[in-house]
Amino acid sequence: MTVIPLTHILILSSLLFIIGFVGVVVRRNTLFMLMSLEVMLNAVGIAFIGAGSVWQEADGQIMFMLILTLAAAEVAVGLALLIRMQRRYRTLDIDVLNQMKG
């Protein structure tokens, strides 16, 4: 069995994280922004599981479970807001949410 070096895992998760972050910044559709947030969180999950397997501990996996719970809660709140937005503005475009100035 070949062992994957820790550095590779961390680089992979950083790349995924950056992809997710770019998605949040670039996407105009709020649904896709929420999905990109999921990508970011799951990238972190990969880093945790990789690190946990290197240290031979369960800590990393438990952190990943906590992250999954967080992601579920966050998406629940996010989707509720999304529905409000659709009702009110009839669009999911983030650009309509720019009324506050100053």
Partner: protein, 499 residues
């Protein structure tokens, strides 16, 4: 020691731990009870009263534990996850105090609505529980749990009045940014964990990772990411963009909750983490802290200059204040940790009192506007001639503004003095320069508020005459005035308590 022994040693919770943990246990039990209460009878009065009771008891319990001396010294470790010392319960008491203020102010705001708002109080209690876990945490996992409990309940509260103009916009901005912040923080934790193999705050600094070169890169990135995640929540300078918008759009009691509870808890956990992990020995980290602090002082103060909207102004001023507070993280030796904690807690108390006072006045004015069916935000001009119409309120406002500006004989001055002292001890001259110049610029927007309050009525000003004014609770106002005056003149009486 064989593994079995180790496990049983870790999981054992003895009576002392239960006693020490009792405020947090009481808070969580209270939340369950209030859920049951909602199922039994839906009444806004009962649930508000009940949540206030829970908070009062939590406050009393933590005060009692503080004075009983159980916590003196290094603190009590409760499982690897939590560690409670006197500083964590001092900040918990501050948090409970401001939550009590938030609930009593919310009662006024919610009175004008038709629905039964029981989940509102429940969410506030959950925010407090998150903050309590944060201030007690000694492990990245518990810190993460507290962080998320706090932020997700806050998102719910920020967008609570869903019919209001900015509710969706504010809620969404806060949700996206706080989710980004928590994923940054999590990635930081993952990097730190991958290098140290330990999720606990308290690692032996002799084996600390920056002593071995090959681990340097990912660990430093991890620490930076962790810090930036927390800086997001503290709205420090490069991460401050959400603050003015969210402050403006959120319901005013919730703005107060964000400005005090969430920031006090975040700052406490930041200090705990930095001191336990020994980041203050790392020169690069200190450089980052100094840069962020200077930037926050500068940006917060200059952007507040032209602000007319009071809530936005408070947002910028809080950016500057947390820039000043970062000074306590820059310490030169382990001996000064105690002093750093004391100055930070004193400063936070001053900041808390001033914020509670100002926001309660803002709420009084908002109530007045909504009664006259002109839904709008409170601007600086609305406060014209306040002194000639509402003496008590105006005196309180002047006091709090002076305290925020750091004029002698107020708490804010004493707090700033401690920070100044701290910066001199650690010989960080840049921070001293920033503190002095920042406070100077600060005067340029704090003093006009006071001038406005004393200005004689012009035709444009809103006339809130005696008969149609909202009755602000007089006792509350006088109590706040006395407390802030007393601690400003006799700071020893509080700082003794902090020892």
């Amino acid at each position: 020691m064989n593994p079995v022994d180790k496990v049983s040693e870790i999981t054992l919770m003895n009576t002392e731990m239960f006693i020490v943990l009792s405020p947090i246990l009481l808070l969580s039990f209270g939340i369950v009870l209030s859920l049951l209460l909602i199922a039994w009878q839906r009444s806004q009065k009962i649930i508000a009263l009940f949540s206030q009771l829970i908070l009062v008891f939590t406050l009393l319990l933590s005060m009692h534990l503080l004075s009983s001396g159980i916590l003196s010294g290094a603190g009590v470790q409760i499982t690897p996850l939590l560690k409670v010392d006197q500083f964590s319960y001092l900040s918990l008491s501050l948090i409970c105090l401001s939550a009590l203020a938030v609930i009593s102010l919310s009662k006024q705001v919610l009175k004008s609505q038709v629905e039964v708002h029981d989940e509102y109080y429940l969410l506030i209690l959950l925010v407090i529980l998150g903050a309590a876990i944060l201030v007690a945490s000694d492990h990245f996992a518990s810190m993460f749990l507290g962080f998320e409990l706090l932020s997700i309940s806050l998102v719910g509260l920020v967008g609570y009045f869903r019919e209001q103009k900015y509710a969706v916009e504010t809620g969404f901005k806060y949700l996206i940014l706080s989710a980004c912040a928590s994923s940054f923080m999590l990635l930081g934790i993952a990097f730190i964990y991958s290098q140290t193999g330990n999720l606990s705050f308290a690692i032996n600094s002799a084996t600390a990772p920056w002593h071995s070169a090959p681990l340097q890169l990912f660990n430093s990135i991890g620490v930076l990411l962790l810090f930036s995640g927390i800086a997001f929540k503290l709205s420090l300078a490069p991460f401050h963009f959400w603050a003015p918008d969210v402050y403006q759009g959120a319901p005013t009691p919730i703005t107060l909750l964000m400005a005090t509870v969430s920031k006090i808890a975040m700052f406490t956990v930041l200090m705990k983490c930095c001191f336990a992990q020994g980041y203050y020995q790392n020169d690069h980290f200190i450089d980052v802290i100094i840069a962020v602090a200077l930037l926050s002082m500068f940006i917060g103060n200059t952007l507040a200059l032209k602000q007319q909207n009071i809530k936005r102004l408070m947002a910028y001023s809080s950016i500057a204040h947390f820039g000043y507070l970062l000074i306590v993280l820059v310490i030169s030796a382990e001996q000064s940790i105690g002093f750093a904690w004391r100055s930070a807690l004193f400063y936070l108390t001053a900041y808390l009192l001033a914020n509670v006072a100002i926001f309660s006045i803002v709420i009084t004015y908002e109530q007045y506007f909504s009664q006259n069916s002109t839904e709008r935000e409170v601007c600086l001009n609305d406060w014209q001639a306040m002194f000639w119409q509402h003496r008590a309120q105006a005196v309180l406002l002047v006091f709090s503004i002076l305290s925020l500006a750091g004029i002698p004989l107020t708490m804010g001055f004493v707090g700033k003095f401690y920070l100044f002292n701290q910066a001199v001890i650690s010989q960080s001259w840049w921070l001293i320069t920033g503190l002095v110049i920042g406070s100077g610029i600060g005067l340029a927007y704090y003093l006009p508020i006071i001038f406005t309050v004393f200005k004689v009525n012009s035709s444009a000003a809103t006339h809130i005459t005696k008969d149609n004014a909202i009755k602000a609770p007089k006792i509350f106002i006088i109590f706040l005035i006395i407390i802030s005056f007393y601690f400003g003149v006799f700071p020893d009486s509080l700082s003794q308590y902090l020892l």
